[in-house]
């Protein structure tokens, strides 16, 4: 327990990381308690309050960040939108991590033809511009929340696999792995009990930074109409609506982008600090 506290103290000793953590926790609380925090129903239209500016820019007092083209409260929609952003970010990265760690460890530990095969698969997936591939697959299977998470997981695992493969190659000939092998332990046990804990640091860093990447990806796909479909609220869809009213109602497109940027900034700050704390070799990169 003291180890965990010590780690947290070191992690949060940097002001930037502390701010990042605070912002991230705020978003998580917002997502968890959206029904209690949102002042209005996010999908309820109010045509008499269409395109009302924020309260502090001359709009009605009850709509702090204004309303959209159907009179829906922007703040409430942003609060609800954080649910999809975090859900897709965390679930997508978990699936990416599972696939990437499994394939990366196998390639790095066994080498040979298995490594060549997995490496070719990685090369193939990164040669296709990812948005085009995501859109094509979502176009074939149809957009949905589960489909989106599966597509993000099954296509985007390459970053994990590349990092894990390289790290596994560097630890597979270390003494503690050799010793476990000499003791006759089963290979799956060696991989899970000895190799994986030794390469956990870069995996945690990549996972944190990848959540930010996936949140931006989800917003992009929703912006293009291939994300989670209405009436579910997504920040990307809000931006797509805002794009159509950019000349008359600046607040529609401005605030969803600010929310995405803040959430991603918090993850990047945290990821960078985790890298400094967990993997000092990479400090300053």
């Amino acid at each position: 327990m003291s180890g965990l506290w010590g780690f947290l103290r070191r992690l949060l000793s940097s002001p930037i990381a502390a701010i990042g953590t605070l912002v991230l926790v705020t978003f998580v609380v917002m997502a968890l308690f959206a029904p209690q925090l949102a002042p209005f129903e996010p999908t309820a239209p109010n045509l008499r309050a269409r395109l009302a500016p924020p309260s502090w820019a001359g709009g009605p007092a009850q709509h702090v960040l204004g309303t959209d083209h159907l009179g829906r409260d922007i703040l409430s929609r942003l609060i609800y939108g954080s649910r999809i952003a975090l859900l897709v970010g965390i679930a997508g990265v978990t699936l990416q991590a599972f696939l990437g760690i499994t394939l990366g460890t196998l390639a790095g530990y066994f080498g040979g033809k298995l490594d060549v095969g997995i490496s070719r698969l990685i090369d193939t997936l990164i040669a296709i511009p990812n948005t085009i591939l995501y859109l094509t697959v979502l176009g074939v299977f149809g957009p949905s929340l589960v489909g989106l998470v599966l597509v993000i997981g099954f296509i985007g695992w390459t970053t994990f696999a590349r990092v894990v493969r390289a790290e596994t190659m560097s630890v597979r000939s270390r003494e503690f792995v050799e010793a476990a092998r000499a003791l006759g332990q089963y290979t799956p046990i060696i991989l899970v009990r000895h190799v994986l804990p030794a390469i956990m640091a870069p995996i945690i860093v990549v996972a944190t930074l990848n959540v930010a990447t996936v949140i931006i990806l989800e917003a992009s796909l929703s912006f293009l109409g291939f994300g989670v479909q209405p009436p579910t609220v997504t920040w990307g869809r809000m931006l797509a609506d805002g794009r159509n009213y950019v000349a008359t109602a600046w607040w529609l497109a401005t605030f969803p982008g600010v929310f995405i940027t803040f959430l991603c900034l918090s993850l990047i700050f945290l990821g960078d600090r985790l890298r400094d704390v967990l993997d000092p070799r990479l400090r300053g990169r």
């Binding site: 296709i128 859109l135 176009g139 917003a219 401005t254 900034l265």
Partner: protein
Amino acid sequence: MIPVVLGITLIVFVLVRISGDPVVLMLPEDAEQWQVEALREALGLDRPIPVQYAMYLRDLVRGDFGTSLRYTNQDALPIVLERLPATLHLTLAALLVAVIISFPLGIVAAVYRNRWPDVTATSFAVLGQAMPNFWLGIMLILLFSVTLGWLPVSGRGGLNSLVLPAVTLGTALAALLTRLMRSSLLEVLNQDYVRTATAKGLQRRLVLLKHAVRNALLAYVTVLGLQVASLMAGAVVTEQVFAWPGIGLLAIQAINSRDMPVIQGVVVVAALIVMSANLIVDVLYALIDPRISYS
């Protein structure tokens, strides 16, 4: 490169097959069963899957991606190639924007480490990575097109129509490259040969440009090449924001109308561009670093 090309064609082949029976899409809804069978036989769809894949590869090598379902009676490949110059202009301009911003900013950040120029450059780099590029595009439209009226909102016209899309697409890459240039240069500045060059009395500027920056360039160029795929991916969204008539916009239209021949054309052409960019980077290595040779 050949296994990767085969891998890409296999992915596209599987997606095309999963997307539905092409015969059903090609024939009218009230077609007789014998007509369906006849067309299936004529297209070779009654043959085993490996044979179908071989036939598919043969067609691709001939440049035959099939006939577009949206643009009636037009071959898919010419439709894609017609839109390609717009995307290439956009990505090259974005690449230029990224280099113009990141190269000096990364150097300044490394030279003035932990001082205000470094803090400014690093802040830009972090912000550039955290912002969705399409949101930046909308904000740029709001400022430069709607409020100031300096640049067009959308479409592809003269050079001024390229400015906002290129800045939108290039900023995230500029952020990444600034960070990379800073860290590579910091590493190089600590090397013995840089200390030797300084000790023998060379001007600071010469040490920096001739000894340090040149060595830091290798990592910079590597990532620049690898990021061409990200630029092509980002171009899809940027083209949508600015109604830029490139292959990204074409891909979205084709996916919306399930026009698989055009979609596979876009995927294969985009992947070939990415692989060509990586090949160019390999050649550039030898120019930047004479220690590398491919003989």
